[in-house]
Each structure stands twice: as C-alpha cells, then as structure tokens.
Amino acid sequence: MFEAFDATVLARIQFAFTVSFHIIFPAFSIGLASYLAVLEALWLWKKDEVYLELFNFWKTIFAVAFGMGVVSGIVMSYQFGTNWSVFSDKAGPVIGPLMGYEVLTAFFLEAGFLGVMLFGLNRVGPRLHFLATAMVAFGTLISATWILAVNSWMQTPAGFSVNEAGQFVPSDWWAVVFNPSFPFRLVHMVLAAYLTTAFVVGACGAWHLLRNTAPRRARTMFSMAMWMAAIVAPIQIFAGDLHGLNTLEHQPAKIMAMEGHYESHPDGAPLVLFGIPNSGEKRIDYAIEVPKLGSLILKHDLDAPLAGLDSIPDELHPPVSIIFWSFRVMVGMGLAMLGIGLWSLWCRYRGTLATNAWLHRMTVLMGPAGFVAVLAGWITTEVGRQPYTIYGHLLTADSVSPIEAPAVGASLVAFIVVYFLVFGAGTFYILRLMARLPRDTMPELDEGPLRTAGVTPGPAAAKSHGGHHGH
C-alpha cells in the first residue's frame, strides 16, 4: 500500500489539492468582479444608493476572496517547476508564453487597479473609480481566457512540433490558442463562475430576507442573483452539452468514463443514469439505464454505435469511478440550479419572490452549489485527461520532477496544514461578512410586505438594530 506513494503520486495529490483550493477563488472572483462593475454602473446610472451600499458590501468580501486567490495562485505558478520540471522543460515553450501573457495582460491589470478600487473612491472620483472596477472585472476575464487556453491545449494539443530535445515547439500560435476544445471550455468556465457567484449572492440575499435584516438591499441582491440563475443555468446546460460533444470528438476515453461505457455498443448506447462502476470486472453494477438515450444525446441518433473503453488499451484508461461520480455531481448541481432559477421565475410571476420563505431556504442551501459543481467539473475534465498531462503526447509519469518522495510528501503536508488553516479562516471571515448587515449609508425607508411566517418582524428588527451598533 505505502509503496504506492511514489513521487509521482504525491506530486499529483499535491497538484490536485492546491489547484482544487485555488479554483474556488477565481470561480468566485470572476463572477463577483463583474457583479461589482454592474452594481457600480447601476449606481452611477440610476443614482440609487442601494447599489452603492451593495457595492461596498460585496467589495470587502471580494477583497478577502481575491487575496486568497492571489496567494494560492502564486503557489500554482511555481509548482510547475518544483514538482513537474520535465513537463515544464518540454511544454514550457508552448504554454509558458500563454501564461506570460496572462501575467502581462491580466494579473497586472487586476493588481494595478485593485488598490484604486478598494481604497480610491475619495481620491479619484466616481467615474475613474468605475473605470478601475471595470478594469479589475475585465482582468479576471482575460485571465480566465489565457489559463483556459493553456488547459485546453493540454487537453487537445494543436499547432506544435517536437524538437530533438523533446520539447514541444509552437508552429502556429493561432492553432495553439484556438485549439479544438478552447472555446467550449472557456464559455463553460466563465458561465460556471457567473452561476457560482449568483448562488453565493442569492444565498446571502435569501439569508437576509429570511432574517428580515435589510429588506431592500437583500431583495435587490436576491432578485439580481435569481435573474442570473434563471438566465444562465439553461445556457450553461446547453453549453455543457456542446462541450461534451467536443470531448467525444477529441477525448473519447473521457466520455466513455463519464458515461460509464466499459463496453462498446454497436447498435445504440444506453444512458447510464446511476450505478456503481466496478473497475475490477469492468462493468457498472446495479446500473439504471435508459436504452438508446446515450446515443441520442451524444450522436443525435438512437441507433448510432458508440465505442467503449474496451476499444482502448487498459493502460490508457482514465480512472473510471472518479470521473463517473464527479460528472454526475456536476450535472446534478446544474439541474438543481436550473430548478431554483425556474422556481424563482414562477415566484416572480406570482409576485412572491421576496416573500416565499421556501425558495429562500432552498437558495441558502444551494449557496455553495456552484463551488461543488466547479470542483466536480474540473475533476471530471482533469482526471479524464489521465494518464496524460498533454493528451496523447506526454504521459503524467514522464512529466514529474526527478525528485524524492519525502520532499514532495513534506511539502504536501505543509500545504495541507497551511491551506486548511489560512483558507479556513478566510472562509470564516467571508461568511461572517455576509451574515453582517449590508452597511447603511442612508436610513432604510421600508416598503413592501413584512414576512409573517418564520422570523417575526419585531425581534428581527431589534436584532438588526443591535447588530448595527456592534460594528
């Protein structure tokens, strides 16, 4: 058992651990930066103080999340060299410049204007300040573009040749950046970031609606978040389907693992809804299947043949169980988010969006759904790339640094301890900031029906009043 933990396995665990933590923060800050830009634009346009209050409320949370994203990102940029030096030497000429462009076009932009956005409203005036906010938001999107170009190239490499030193040499930069899976991956990730943020903002709004602490501000953020969920969730499912078809074309083994097809289906594949992958016997135990539906979804034809993992040598199989489960978690979260979005539309139509306590409770529960879906999605795509780092060209086992297991193991333990400590504290502070009343800049002119079910207005109002003086 223990000899399984060689340097490669430990380096993979370290990468998986640090990147999983890291992806949480960009997923949140991409969406939140855009949300902040929208809030400030609405404030400038409509001159309604509620948008400035919400801006200031979310700005502080953004700052904490962004700080965590920065420090966990620096770890990523050095880990390629420490643990994956052979990969860095070989792939550096192709992916290095893309990451270089990420730093030059995105990181400096975000960092340069973040200070102005956080500290500068009184120093530069509202218009320049809005420009700074927009630049931060723009920077997060540019950053996503480059890093997804890198990741997509590793999944579906194009536009390169290999030189005598074994390095990947770019021959066509256009083909490198716009590799076959890049557009699908970028759209899927940016939409995921927006949905993630929508559910965090929505959950926060719903929480305050349930507690009746700041009705107008809570209602505004809840309503904005629910529009986002209702509009983006269906688009995301559509985009995910297109991404799946692209993956079937370029990384069929990944789709076979996601769908649980150990065997080929010459005349129409079923859709495996549930089951337990049994990698020893190479079959899905207790499978619940819908006949022919798999072929219909993937090939848009009931009787189209679909190859299974039996068409690929064993040593090139990705780990089926992980991918099978993570894919189902992602899809499940996506459908649940769609459900909340549609439910919110119905409530909006009925005029009960701000008063339907069950909708609010479910939304609070769904607050972390975006993070779960993003993590599950990345696990699906990254584990599905195995056993390669550069799909079809460079094996993971041939990418690792010539390093001893104790060194990787010790740094892994250090990262685990530090990350749980530091990012645990950060999550705690963010949750506490969200639970706090959005700051007042003007007295709350209350309007609309007070809730009668759940929390009674009297104590809630008193509590919010008390909370006020506490800060």
């Binding site: 700005k59 192709v94 400096f108 956080l118 040499v169």
Partner: protein, 334 residues
C-alpha cells in the same frame, strides 16, 4: 545578423526580477519591521501604507516565475527542483503575509495572530529568497536536462549569509519607505532603524561580495580580470556613495532621498551579481543560450512584452500617484 532573442529576454527577465526585488522588497520590509512597532495604531498605518500596492508588487514575482518558464524553460526546470525547500518556504511565507492584509482587519480577537502571520511570513519569504539567491550564486549542477545535485545542496554558510543579507536589506527598504510615507513618532523610529539597517546592509553586501569570487573560478576571473575589474572598483565606490546619501538624507530629514538611496544600494548589488553571472542563466551549468526556449516562443512573447510592459509601468505609476504622499491614518476602506 539575427536579433539575439535569448539575450534580450535575459535582460527583460533581469528587469522583472529587479522590479520585484525593489517593489516587494519594501513591502516585505514593512512586514519584517512589524515587531519593532508594537503600537496598534502604528501597525495600522504601516499596513495601509503598502495595502493598495502590495498585490501589484508581488505580480512581478509571478512574471519572473511565469516568464522564466516561457523563455528559459530549462533554467526554470532545473532551478526549481534544486531550490525546492527554499521555494516552498517562500510560498508558505507569502501565503501568510498575503492574507494578513485582509484578515487583520476582519477580527479583533485574533488580530495578534495575523500580526504574527504578516511579520513572520514576510521575514520567512525574504529569508527564503536570500537562501535561493545564495543557492543559485553558488552553482547548480545540471546533467541531461535535469538537476543533478542533492536536496540540501542549497544549504551552506554562504546561502545563510545571503538570506540574512536580504532580510536586512528589505528591512532597510521598508524603513526608508516608512520615512517617506508616515509622520511623527512612527517616522522618527523608522529613521533610527534605517540607520542601523543601512550599516548592516552594506556590511552584508561587503561580505557576500568578498565571498562570491571564491565560489567559482569564473567569478574570480570576472571580478579581478581585465577589463571587468573596472566594475569591481567602481561598484564598491558607488555603494559607499549611496550609503553617504542615505545617511545624509536621514540626518537632514529628507522624506524621499533615503528611499531612493536604498534603492540605489539594491540596484548596485543586483548589477554586481549580474556581472558575476553573465553569460550564465544557471551557473555554472547553463548559459542564456543553453536555457532559452525556441525562437518561436521568444518572439511571440516579446511582441506582447514590448507593448505591454510600458503600459503596465504607466498604470502602476498612476496607481502610486493616486496614493502619493503621507498615509492618512483615518483613511482605508476597512
């Protein structure tokens, strides 16, 4: 003759690393000096003096690392494993001090913890950078496109001295930054610390400079052979000149001069290392040309760098301009 892309890139990477050293140097220095300012109010002001700019400063480190992977992948792939432990320690230090900028304001009860995270993280990051620098200067063996030494080779008396030198030097940058950005007792205290750090920094530079030529025959040749020995004479003189301006600036209560003079010390030290190194990227194993990526990669990124770096410098300067002058203790968004 074709344009020598690896040489241009070596100059650009050197610039990025220098930009990192002087910029993050002063904000790490502010963290290193935290224990010498026990008052909460002083610490709030110290932190707010760097809070709007530290993130941009640290981005130069990401450019240094990411850029190295892009344009000198073989150097990146051999230096990182060779300096594994100091790099990991630096990253952990940067995590603690980076989050402290936000966390410190989010809690009263645990504030002391994040004060420690800020001071300890800054010191650890600076010391690790010094260890890594020492490890690089003393040489990294490479065979077959991979690091060919042991896991503790970086740990020597020399690298420990460079580690201490960097901590002291960053503390000097931090102290002169505080002279420039603060008032009253805080600035007064920073002045007296800056004087001590100035002497310690110059002493450390002297020790490292005298030691370096004996680490590698190439360095010895560089420092005492003709014509490069001219620099060996000029650089120490310039160092003494900077020290003089620094002390005079402090004595005559100039705000900006001590900081500029400290930057001068760092630039000179950096040039000194550059003189020793050239033409190596990873001494004594890889030259700039051995380590460089194919020209296709160098050219592609160079186009962007030539356009973008001036723009970055422009808006970075703008951001510093927005937050110019002394720190107002009442300001801050927290």
């Amino acid at each position: 003759m074709a344009i020598d892309l690896p040489f241009i890139w070596a100059a650009l990477i050197a610039f990025a690393v220098l930009a990192y050293v002087v910029l993050d140097g002063f904000d790490l220095g502010v963290g290193i000096l935290f224990p010498y300012f026990p008052e909460k109010h002083d610490r709030d002001v110290m932190m707010n003096s760097v809070a709007p700019v530290w993130d941009g400063n640290e981005t130069w480190l990401v450019l240094g690392g990411g850029g190295l992977m892009a344009v000198f992948p073989l150097a990146y792939a051999t230096v990182m494993p060779a300096l594994y432990a100091p790099i990991i320690a630096m990253l952990l230090g940067l995590i603690f001090r980076g989050v402290a900028f936000e966390y410190r304001w989010r809690t009263r009860r645990a504030e002391f913890l994040w004060n420690w995270a800020f001071a300890g993280g800054s010191t650890l990051a600076a010391f690790s950078q010094g260890l890594a620098l020492g490890g690089l200067v003393q040489g990294i063996p490479v065979e077959d496109r991979a690091y060919a030494g042991g896991w503790w080779d970086w740990l020597t008396p020399f690298s420990i001295v460079t580690g201490v030198a960097i901590v002291v030097g960053y503390a000097l940058l931090g102290a002169t930054w505080l002279i420039m950005k603060t008032r009253g007792d805080l600035a007064e205290r920073a002045r007296s610390i800056a004087v001590k750090c100035a002497f310690a920094t110059v002493a450390a530079m002297g020790i490292v400079s005298l030691w370096t030529p004996f680490l590698e025959p190439v360095y010895l040749q560089r420092w005492f052979g003709w014509p490069t020995a001219i620099f060996s004479v000029i650089v120490p003189l310039l160092v003494l000149g900077c020290l003089y301006l620094l002390l005079k600036g402090i004595q005559e209560r100039h705000d900006v001069q001590p900081f500029i003079a400290s930057l001068g010390l760092f630039v000179l030290g950096y040039i000194g290392i550059g003189i020793s190194f050239y033409p190596y990227m990873v001494p004594p194993s890889l030259t700039i040309w051995d380590a460089a990526a194919p020209n296709e990669s160098l050219a592609f990124l160079l186009v962007g760098a030539l356009v973008l770096v001036p723009i970055i410098l422009a808006y970075t300067a703008y951001s510093y301009w927005v937050f110019r002058g002394k720190v107002d203790p009442e300001e801050g968004y927290h």
